[in-house]
């Protein structure tokens, strides 16, 4: 089943690679992945849609949360959330079809972003099923070329962000000394 994940991660070298790497190594199928900086430019927000068996759903989140650069990985699949995707498509339109295409676009609240003798470039946002319908419809008018953004989602039940607090350097050293004492007993 499709699982929607929202990740907040540090904008550090290799962070994106780590996320993608874990998904690949654990054999989780990625449907889509979007990533961009947040208002805090040291952080990125990622929305990932993976296709996994429902019994490994919790595993996916745990594996992602384990990454040092991931501040929070949340499963939005069953949470109250809003998810949107954008499609940009070019449709070849015969003169006879042009008005009809514009009508359809209007129904889907899509916007024409370019128009030429060959046809239109159209932008449409919505949930993925609605976009599927729109794409199907456009295909019936002629040759099309489609680019989809992948899902972006935001939760409507924000979880408190739990972060690790700084640890004084001595703390780990002390623990080691203690272990040595145990060993030398």
């Amino acid at each position: 089943m499709l699982q929607t994940l929202s990740l907040l991660l540090e904008n550090k070298p290799g962070a994106l690679m780590r996320v993608v790497g874990v998904l690949a190594a654990r054999n989780y199928n990625v449907e889509s992945l979007t990533v961009a900086r947040t208002i805090d430019e040291t952080l990125s927000r990622m929305t990932i849609v993976v296709d996994v068996e429902s019994k490994v759903r919790a595993q996916v989140v745990k594996q992602l949360n384990k990454l040092v650069n991931v501040l929070q990985a949340q499963d939005l699949t069953e949470e109250r959330s809003v998810a949107r995707e954008m499609v940009l498509l070019r449709v070849r339109a015969e003169m006879a079809n042009r008005t009809a295409i514009l009508k359809e676009a209007e129904i889907f609240q899509a916007r024409v972003v370019d128009s030429s003798v060959e046809g239109f470039a159209i932008e449409c946002t919505g949930d993925p099923e609605k976009l599927d319908e729109f794409v199907d419809l456009m295909r019936s008018y002629g040759e099309i070329e489609v680019t989809r953004s992948g899902l972006v989602a935001v939760t409507l039940e924000p979880k408190k962000l739990r972060l690790a607090s700084p640890v004084p350097m001595g703390a780990a050293e002390e623990e080691e000394e203690q272990q040595e004492r145990v060993l030398s007993k």
Binding site: G14, M17, Q59, L163, P166, M169, V182
Partner: protein, 586 residues
């Protein structure tokens, strides 16, 4: 620039080179020993080391630097450190890092990288170490500026040694070693995304105590996590408190002393009958720092079908990864067990009697299984049986020696038949099962514990993967007792070909084994070959009494197989116990 030959901390603001900063950070982390191999881009680092007090052991192959660092760590619990140059050096470390990853061993690897300006140009000896080692490590870093060095080095040690331990790699471009900077000591580590769950949920721990008292056929399944968290005393307390039968996994041997009356043995593919029957029939698995490895569970659907599971692990992703846990507890084994023992005692007065009859009956059943099919020490009068070899090593060790092994049949026999009465005596490659591990890990263990008796037991196959380390052993006069269980085959593979491929022995014969006396002699130490059972005891004693290294090549029955055996994908209660046997002579 200031000299760094001192044990005193270097003052903040001192102008140092990147290499000197690295050495100072290592000193602060308590590192006194590095295993490594130099090269072009690490020249500045090795130059700084020249007049620094840190000890560097020059191994003969970088893979062995990683294994030696592991041996050091596995024997002490401290972080092991290895070092390699860019490109080929770093690539040679990779197997050792993955091995450490699989067994959760804290290792910090320092690798040199080509000069920053050349990165991405396919420069001489450039490899994408950062990219290639990402899945081989718990975390890795590439240093972009010399000022980041202290922070990154301390983060690396912190990550390697806390939570679920593991290998961490720091890739350092040559110009960073050379750059100079006013040293700023780090006073705290801040990794906001690295959350540790060590305490364990109090309510869950209370429920666990209740479940343990209420169970009729409990079984403690303890593993490497107990050893990593130094929780062996707490484990013993729990086991004695409620008189619990206990199995230790391959990674956990020694967690409960091998001579403890509650210790049954190792479960799994080559586990004992009693351990596997116990796991199959239990009604409550108390899983402590284990990961339900497929070598333990056999066919999952048939594993412990009647049991509820209490699973204690520091890594949340281990819980319910393989087997669903009715009662998960995320936390450090030591802390969780301390709390659990407290609650167990609290509940003891009202609950001890509750299932005492069923518990007594359960123990009777288990003792029955143990007597019915004990792990066998086989003997013969004309050939040295592998089991006989292990029995004799066991006699000398008496539960106290460090034993590192390679991978294969000898590893399983050494796990079955040699007793480990303390944690950190038994050192082997469990998760990755990497041949070539035995000899270099013994180097690390012996360097860490100069006064301990260290055996490395290898097959004639794996041994030949790390022969170059004879030089390191000779160099440092390490009194390691190198025992090759020589069956003339890649024994474990031959066993599978015999059992599952109609005995079509494809590429498993190992001819041309070198002469032991000459080989050891070439490196300046003693060695010999034996093949008669009556020579075994004296030869082992001679080896142990030799103050320096000793190489004993023991020719054993070539075609002996390891039993019991749960064939891959089989159910643990349907193990194959013994092959058709000729009459054993004692």
């Amino acid at each position: 620039m200031a000299s760094t030959t001192t044990t005193q901390p270097i003052a903040a603001g001192t102008l140092l080179s990147g290499s000197q900063i690295l050495l100072e950070c290592l000193r602060r982390e308590g590192v006194d020993l590095i295993f490594g191999y130099p090269g072009g881009v690490t020249l500045p680092f090795y130059d700084a080391m020249y007049d620094h007090e840190i000890q560097h052991v020059l191994v003969r192959h970088e893979q062995n630097a990683a294994f030696a660092a592991q041996g050091y760590s596995r024997a002490t619990g401290k972080v092991g450190v290895c070092c390699a140059t860019s490109g080929p050096g770093a690539m040679n470390l990779v197997t050792g890092l993955v091995d450490a990853m699989m067994d959760s061993i804290p290792v910090v690897a320092i690798t040199g990288q080509v000069t920053s300006k050349l990165i991405g140009t396919d420069a001489f000896q450039e490899a994408d170490t950062f990219g290639i080692t990402r899945p081989a490590t718990k975390h890795n870093f590439m240093v972009k500026h010399v000022s980041e060095l202290p922070r990154i080095i301390h983060e690396a040690f912190y990550l390697a040694s806390t939570g679920r331990p593991g290998p961490v790699l720091v890739d350092i471009p040559k110009d960073i070693f050379q750059a100079s900077s006013h040293y700023q000591p780090v006073d705290s580590i801040h990794l906001p995304g690295y959350k540790l769950y060590t305490e364990g949920h109090t309510g869950q721990i209370r429920r666990a105590a209740q479940m343990i008292w209420e169970s009729e056929r409990p079984m403690v399944y303890a593993g490497g996590g107990i050893i990593h968290s130094h929780a062996h005393d707490e484990l013993k307390e729990l086991v004695e408190l409620a008189d619990l039968p206990t199995v230790n996994t391959l990674m956990g041997l020694g967690a409960l002393p091998g001579n403890h009356r509650n210790f049954i043995s190792m479960p799994g593919m080559h586990g004992s009958y009693a351990a596997n029957m116990g796991m199959y029939n239990t009604d409550l698995i108390i899983a402590l720092g284990v990961r339900f490895d497929d070598r333990v569970t056999g066919r999952l659907a048939a594993f412990a079908p009647h049991a509820k599971v209490i699973h204690v692990d520091i890594d949340p992703s281990e819980i319910s990864k393989i087997r669903n846990a009715e009662l998960p507890i995320v936390g450090d084994a030591k802390k969780v067990l301390q709390k659990l023992n407290r609650v167990m005692r609290e509940l003891e007065p009202e609950m001890r009697a509750l299932k005492s009859n069923q518990r007594a009956e359960w123990w009777n059943t288990i003792r029955g299984w143990m007597e019915e099919h004990p792990l066998k020490h086989e003997f013969s009068i004309d050939q040295i049986k592998p089991q006989h070899l292990m029995a004799e090593i066991n006699r000398i060790s008496n539960g106290e020696a460090i034993v590192t092994t390679d991978v294969g049949q000898h590893q399983m026999w050494a796990a079955q038949l040699i007793r480990y009465d303390h944690p950190r005596l038994w050192i082997n490659s469990g998760g990755l099962g990497t041949m070539g591990f035995g000899l270099p890990s013994a180097i690390g263990a012996q360097m860490a514990c100069p006064d301990k008796l260290v055996f490395t037991i290898c097959g004639d196959g794996g041994f030949q993967m790390s022969i170059p380390e004879f030089a390191t052993i000779a160099n440092h006069k390490l009194p390691i007792k190198i025992i090759v269980m020589n069956n003339g085959y890649l024994g474990m593979v031959r066993q599978w070909q015999e059992l599952f491929y109609n005995n079509r022995l494809s590429q498993v014969t190992l001819d041309s084994f070198p002469d032991a006396t000459m080989l050891a002699g070439a490196y300046g130490f003693k060695g010999r070959t034996i093949d008669k059972p009556e020579e075994l005891r004296a030869a082992l004693e001679e080896a142990v009494n030799e103050p320096g290294p000793y190489f004993l090549n023991v020719r054993v029955t070539p075609t002996e197989n390891v039993y019991p055996m749960v064939p891959a994908g089989g159910a643990i209660n349907e193990m194959v116990l013994t092959p058709p046997q000729p009459v054993a002579v004692a």
